[in-house]
Structure formats: structure tokens, C-alpha cells
Symmetry: C2
Subunit: 351 residues, 2 copies
């Protein structure tokens, strides 16, 4: 069940809310812009759905409304910031601008951010880079929480650790946004309430068995989410999860070992200019050719054709811009008390 | 069934073979060194087992014995080489030296190599970086072959696309070497001969069904290996595979779109100095803490404790250095004709 809204009205609404909560106007528009972008792409758990949590964190000081990150290190092609729990969405946007300004000099520019607040939907940032013909890698972990067990264990030790990759092509970009785990805590939590099962054996119970029952996360001791690859190939997802931990909290020098217990993120971001390597045109020819080869690859009778990562999101975005943004029915009611408290007008749904 | 040999004797033997086949002595020792390193780590499909193929390629001109790669681009932190089908093992070693010399200036140095020959066992290169406190990322694809289907298809379009990551810690390094697919063509080929099944439903048949039968790769039309994640989560492994294609053949500007049909590799290599980010000591504290948290994570009664990526390889290497290197029984007989042809003495097995 969804209700449709005009995209511009949602953007104005989100920006008004964050601005009223103390975030400078320009920055509030950036944060709201990426949340609405997630809603446009159909990733509606990571769009305005996050705004009540962000507003609560702004209200009680867990998110810092204004200021600049501290520069921990800067060697031109390698930058490290302490994000001081500023908006993670704004920090990622700011880091991208910094990296994109420098990337023609260095070919690749990396920004690592420790003590960022939550960075929302990774996929939303990718088109900013791919529209300029740049590749972007983005990964994050949250050192304050754990939900994924190391391969072979059932004890949660680290986070799902998303990895996003934006790849320009001769046509639509490839927009990859995956986690190094089989599923997310969000989905597991939603299904726990509903009594439903997962679509596959993505969890591990405290007897070491694969399970599709979200309640195995609530036993004593609790089970966990498995790394990507599951019970038989989970060593691969475990490796990916460890890679993300090293690139984020490791390079930031601040994470689980430091005892972080505040909701936030460690972030790794890299911008790569194909023009500094084998050439932008040759790059796009390779990635465009591969995209078409995948889209036209044979499927069994009755099966849909192959979708490239991002195809679905771009299709949903085009439809939402034309017909309105569908929001899950619970999202606007959760924002209304904030709108009233902050004196912001709530947008009307489309007819 | 294995036969044990002294590691130094194997190294000398391998170097003698490559030198007799026209590779300069110093370079022959480097190539043989990494092959024997794979055997020491227990990855014996990617050790001296590869030497007959390499010697054949040197013999008929498919591998170039001597010369330097062409520099396509160099911006200090971003280097692109045409490898001219020189030994991929030597090219990776050479690229690592170049990157490690520069990394304290830039924080990260990336080398992309197109038209490399095969690079053997990715994990063997990682300790060279981690021993210096450096992080290393290494990925490769082979644009001349295909075995993995895009998620949703059964048609092979791209390669398993390994990703290796070396992570220094306060103790043993984390040595990750995984592919973006469920399994490899090598394993599938071996099992096709034996009549055995895979240990899980890692393949897809031409009806679009998951299968553990390696013969589904030989039907008309043939099936394929699935991306990591398999039938239900394969969109994630598909994303990783596409990332590797973009970073290797894409950045190199030369791959499947260019119609490459010669056995070889497109290579992406990145060296990262934690000292240029949040600090080497803070990095090792984070990665060391996480390694210990994983190793001590709870397992179900009767299950072995968690192994970190690389733990098994380092244990096998210590045993092989003490007691001799176990080689699968068919490896030395396959090398004997080459030894005779090239006038090289074959080592004697240990008693």
C-alpha cells in the first residue's frame, strides 16, 4: 500500500524539516535530495522513512546539525576526515565533491570518514559520479552494531557492510548496491513482527543450522545473519565483509576496537577517472558492451530477461517523476508529528 | 595422493625451467617463487601445476619471455600498462614494487594491466604487501573466456573474477582470495571427468534451474556457473563480477568489447598505506581486534572454531616449510617431459 506525492513537494518538505531542526538550508536540501532520490529509485526503506530517526538524532544531539569535518590526514589522493557525527548523507556528498575536484590530477581519489552519521541509500550517490563519466566505489559499516556472524559461527560480530559501485557505460549506468551479507537486519525485524519467513535460508540459528525463520535472531543466545554465500559459500561473503571493515573503520582508525557505541558509520569512498587509465571512451565501450551482452543473455522459457544492477531503480525513478513518488503508507504519518512540532507544512498526496 | 618435496628444490627447479624456456634468470626465479608459494599455501591447482601450460605458452609465443610492459598512462597514483602478454605473475610483482615505492607519497597507488598473461594464485602476492603494513587489493578477469552467467540467465558471459585483499593486523594478516562466482571452471571440469557432484547447487542448467551436476555445462545450449549468492541472492555476486570487469578490462580499455581471444588477464591492483589515512597502528588495532573477535565467536557444539581467511594457508605453509611441500601426484609427471626437453634436472621427492 502506497500513497503518491510530487517529488518536488517531498524535497521541499524534507528540506524544511531538516532546516527547522537546525541544519543550514543548503545542507538540508542536499540531505532531503538524497532521501527523496532513494524514494524515487524505489528504495523506500532508505528514503524519507529515515527522516524521523534523523530528526530525533538532531533533536537530542546524536547528529550534529552544522560544522565541517576535521581533516585527519590529506595526501592529495588520500583524505581522512572525522565526520563529528554530521549528517552522513551530507558528508558523503561533500567528500564526493572534494574527490571529483581532484580526480583529474590523481586518477583516483579516496576519502575515508570516521564518526560519520548514517549515510542512507548508497545507490543514490552513484549517478552524481557516473553522469561525469567517473567510477565510484562506496562502502560503509556501523561499528556500533552487529548482526552478521563470521562464517562458521552463529554469533553476530559485524554489520551487513554495503558496497556500492557506479559504472558509466555508453547507455544507462550500472548502479550496484549490495551488502556482504545474505540479508539485512531491517528485513529480519520486519518479518519478525509479521510471522513470515525469509525467501531463503539466509540466517543461522544457535545450533549452527541455516534457517529462514527471523525468530532465530531472538533466541538465547541469538542467531545471526549469514555472510553472502550462506551455509556453503559464506567464506566468500565473510571475506567481503572483512574487506569493508578494513577499508572503513580500519583506514579511519576508529571502530569496534575503539568501543564505538553511537549510531553512525565508517565510510570508504573512492572516485576513479577512467580517463586517467585506458581512456573514458574505451572504458564505456567495454562496460556498454558487457551490459548489452548481459541484457541479451539467454534465459529459460518464461523467465524475464536479465536486468542490470540499476535498471529497476532507473525505471522506477522515471515512472515516479512522471506519475508521482509512491511512499509506503506508514511513512507520512510518522513524519506528521515532526512537521507539527517544527511548524512545517505537510505535502498533500496526489489524486 | 601427494608426494613431498623440499621447497627450495622446487623453487630452483621451476626457475631452471622458465630460464631454460627463455625467461631471464631473475624473472624466472620470481615466477617460480610465486608458484611454489601457492603450493606452500596448499593452493596446488595454482602452483607448479600451472608450469606446463606456461612453458607451452612460452614455447609457441603466447607468453612473451622478456621485455617491459608499455606505459599507457601514468598520473603518479594511477598507472596503466599494456602487459604485452608477459608473465602475469612477474607483471603483478613488478606492479606491486612500483606501487609500493610510491604509496607513501600518495596514500593509494593503483596499477591496471591489460594484455597480461595469467597471474596464477592471487593470495600469494598479498603477504608481500601486508608484511610492510600495507593493504593490497588485487582483481582479475580473463576477457578471452566466459563461464559465469548473469543473474537470471544460464548463458556464460564473463569469468569468475577473483578478488584478493591483504589486510595487515597486529598478528597474522587476513589473506582473502575469493571469486565473485559460486565455483570455478577448474573444479567443474575436474568433477565432469569423475562423475561426482558439486557440494552445492552452484550451477544453472539451460532450463534455468539450480544444479550440482557439472554436466549441465556440457549440454546444448550449455548451462553456466552462477554468480556468488546462487539462485536466490545471485544479484549480489553478479554486481561484484561486473565491478571486477569494470576495474580490470574497463579501466584497461581493452577486453571483451575489443574481441580479445588470447589466454591472459586484465588486472587491477591497488596498494593502500594505512599510515596515510587514520594511522598504521590504529588500523592494525582495528583489524587485529576484529580478527580475534571472529576467531573467538561462538560456534555450535561440535563445530570447529572460526578460521580467518588466510589462517589455513599460513598453517599449511608453516607445515610445508618444516616437512616438505605436498604436491598432488600428477604434477611432477606432467613436468618431467618439459625438464627433459629443456635439459633441467627433476628434484627427488623427500623420503
Amino acid at each position: 500500500m502506497t500513497v503518491r506525492y510530487d517529488a518536488d513537494a517531498l524535497l521541499r518538505f524534507g528540506a524544511d524539516l531538516f532546516a527547522a531542526a537546525g541544519v543550514p538550508r543548503e545542507r538540508a536540501e542536499i540531505v532531503a535530495g538524497f532521501l527523496v532520490e532513494a524514494d524515487l529509485m524505489g528504495h523506500d526503506t532508505h528514503g524519507l522513512n529515515l527522516a524521523p530517526g534523523y530528526l530525533a538524532a538532531l533533536g537530542d544531539g546524536r547528529m550534529t546539525p552544522d560544522g565541517e569535518p576535521d581533516v585527519i590526514a590529506d595526501r592529495g589522493a588520500a583524505i581522512t576526515w572525522d565526520g563529528k557525527y554530521l549528517s552522513g548523507v551530507w558528508l558523503v556528498w561533500h567528500a564526493m565533491q572534494t574527490a571529483m575536484e581532484r580526480v583529474s590530477d590523481y586518477g583516483t581519489v579516496t576519502v575515508v570518514i570516521r564518526s560519520s552519521h548514517h549515510i542512507a541509500c548508497l545507490a543514490t550517490f552513484l549517478p552524481v559520479a557516473t553522469e561525469r563519466g567517473l567510477v565510484m566505489l562506496l562502502a560503509s559499516s556501523d561499528p556500533a552494531t552487529a548482526g552478521v556472524a563470521p562464517h562458521g559461527s552463529y554469533q553476530p560480530v559485524y554489520t551487513p557492510n554495503p558496497i556500492a559501485v557506479g559504472i558509466p557505460t555508453t547507455g544507462d549506468p550500472v548502479l550496484i548496491d549490495i551488502s556482504a551479507s545474505t540479508t539485512t537486519l531491517g528485513l529480519a525485524g520486519r518479518l519478525q513482527g509479521s510471522g513470515e519467513r525469509m525467501d531463503g535460508p539466509w540466517l543461522i540459528d544457535n545450533a549452527g543450522k541455516a534457517s529462514d525463520d527471523p525468530n532465530v535472531l531472538k533466541t538465547d543466545p541469538p542467531g545471526a545473519i549469514m555472510p553472502l554465500g550462506g551455509i556453503d559459500r559464506g567464506h566468500k561473503g565473510f571475506g567481503l565483509g572483512l574487506m569493508v571493515e578494513a577499508l572503513t573503520s580500519g583506514l579511519g582508525g576508529f571502530g569496534r576496537a575503539a568501543g564505538v557505541n553511537r549510531w553512525g558509520a565508517s565510510v570508504f569512498l573512492q572516485i576513479i577517472d577512467p580517463g586517467a587509465f585506458g581512456g573514458g571512451e574505451a572504458f564505456a565501450q567495454e562496460t556498454g558492451w558487457l551490459s548489452e551482452a548481459c541484457r541479451s543473455a539467454a534465459v529459460a522459457p518464461g523467465n524475464p530477461s536479465v536486468r542490470m544492477p540499476g535498471d529497476g531503480a532507473l525505471k522506477r525513478k522515471r515512472a515516479a517523476l512522471a506519475n508521482g513518488v509512491p511512499l509506503y503508507f506508514g511513512i507520512m504519518p510518522a513524519l506528521r508529528p515532526w512537521a507539527e512540532q517544527l511548524g512545517v507544512e505537510t505535502p498533500q498526496p496526489l489524486a
